[in-house]
């Protein structure tokens, strides 16, 4: 089992393409997206109840080896999160290599 960093990102549905582009640039091996995550944060309630996607979140998860990639992603995400809001959590995990 390979130690990896598990990065969880929660952002506007509308920001998702930008974040995924960023992950591709970082060269992660892949990612998983769960749409229609509702929630609450500094920008208030986010019902998935609208037609605009302005108030809907998506949940993005990617596992990547610790090191440069991770730092690149984190640094690239900061401005987005700062400007557009959202959350990014990093935790440790082990990847079952197959």
């Amino acid at each position: 089992m390979m130690p990896v960093k598990r990065i969880e990102i929660i952002v506007d549905e509308l920001e998702v393409p930008k974040v995924l582009k960023l992950l591709d640039e970082a060269g992660v091996s892949g990612y998983t997206v769960i749409k229609d995550a509702t929630g609450k944060g500094d920008r208030g309630l986010r019902g998935g109840d609208d037609l605009t996607g302005v108030f809907a979140n998506s949940y993005i998860m990617t596992a990547c080896p610790p090191g440069e990639k991770l730092d690149f992603i984190v640094e690239a995400l900061r401005p987005i999160l700062k400007q557009r809001g959202g959350v990014c959590l990093v935790s440790d995990a082990h990847w079952i290599i197959h």
Partner: protein
């Protein structure tokens, strides 16, 4: 007769279902239309109205009067955000002012659809090309507002801004694209297509609209809370600007020699505010702007005002002037 209009409109099932949706939230019922059903209902409405319009154009043919009306519509959609912006600037940041200006410069397809249903209930005819007018009026305000924003705002976070993307968000966003596409398909397939699709696009239309407005009521009521943040100024703005726009649109429509039905739709377009296409575009190109201002304003103030009080008011005035 104004009163009859008001009551007649009030007892219209779609309006009643909008109230039912509001009520559901006030009594804290758990009634709600689960996602993504509202999305698909709105796609259906755009699809149906687009086809109707296209078939209408195919039937009526394309005269210069139509071209003039479409031009006037585009102009209004570009001018409204301008004066809206400068009114708003008195109290708001450049970003918020620009975003709200875009919201009110653009249009609300559902308001238009509700108004069209209102006309059909009164069996007042309208031209299919008004749907084209609607489609044309969605985008200009977005461009104008972003221009104002980028001219006036110091921090342009130019980093991730791209005109190509803005253009695409403005003209190819899902709703604009679907209306335009259905409109063209309506024109191409004409009478034959119309009859084949009528049961889907016309017969069940009112029913679907009721369902959709039920959800709109729920969503609007949920957003009402955000209005505290908006305050008196913006709440008043959400009612007075539409009335002001109508006051410009009606004489203009008269000058253009539009029929009563067309004038009414033209007015409602100018008076309505967007809550689908524009918020998404603003979120991406004016991120500093606070969606908790421009969305509830159009959704929880202007939309209800227009469909409840605005429609009968505008039509009453038009009836007076035209007759």
């Amino acid at each position: 007769m104004d009163l009859n209009l008001l009551i007649g409109n009030f007892l219209n099932p779609p309006i009643l279902f909008f109230f039912l949706g509001l009520l559901a939230v006030f009594v804290r019922s758990d009634l709600e239309i689960p996602t993504p059903i509202p999305k698909i209902l709105s796609l259906y409405l755009l699809f149906a109205i687009g086809l109707k319009g296209g078939v209408g154009i195919a039937a009526s043919g394309f005269e210069t009067k139509i071209a003039v009306t479409l031009a006037a519509a585009t102009v209004m959609a570009s001018v409204v955000p301008l004066y809206a912006f400068f009114i708003l600037r008195r109290k708001l940041s450049v970003a918020d002012a620009a975003a709200i200006a875009a919201t009110y410069g653009s249009i609300s397809a559902v308001t238009f659809i509700t108004a069209a249903a209102f006309l059909e209930k009164l069996s007042l005819p309208y031209g299919g090309y008004m749907v084209a007018a609607m489609a044309l009026m969605e985008s200009p305000a977005i461009i104008v507002a972003v221009l104002l924003y980028r001219l006036r705002s110091s921090d342009r976070n130019g980093s991730d801004f791209s005109w190509r993307e803005l253009w695409r968000d403005a003209f190819f966003n899902g709703s604009v694209f679907l209306i335009m596409g259905s409109l063209v398909i309506g024109v191409l397939s004409g009478e034959a297509g119309a009859t084949a699709l009528k049961p889907f696009t016309s017969d069940i239309f009112t029913g679907v609209l009721c369902f959709f407005l039920l959800d709109m009521g729920v969503v609007a009521a949920r957003r009402l809370g955000d209005l505290k943040r908006a305050g008196v100024f913006l709440t008043a703005f959400g009612i007075l600007l539409p009335v002001g726009n109508a006051a410009i649109a009606i004489p203009l429509a008269y000058a253009l020699g539009l029929s009563q039905g067309d004038a009414f739709l033209f007015t409602i377009l100018c008076a309505s505010a967007s809550y689908i296409a524009v918020p998404a575009a603003m979120r991406l190109s004016i991120p500093e702007a606070n969606p908790s201002l421009y969305v509830p304003m159009s959704l929880a103030i202007t939309f209800p005002f227009n469909i409840i009080a605005g429609m009968p008011l505008y039509l009453a005035i038009i009836n007076r002037i035209w007759s």
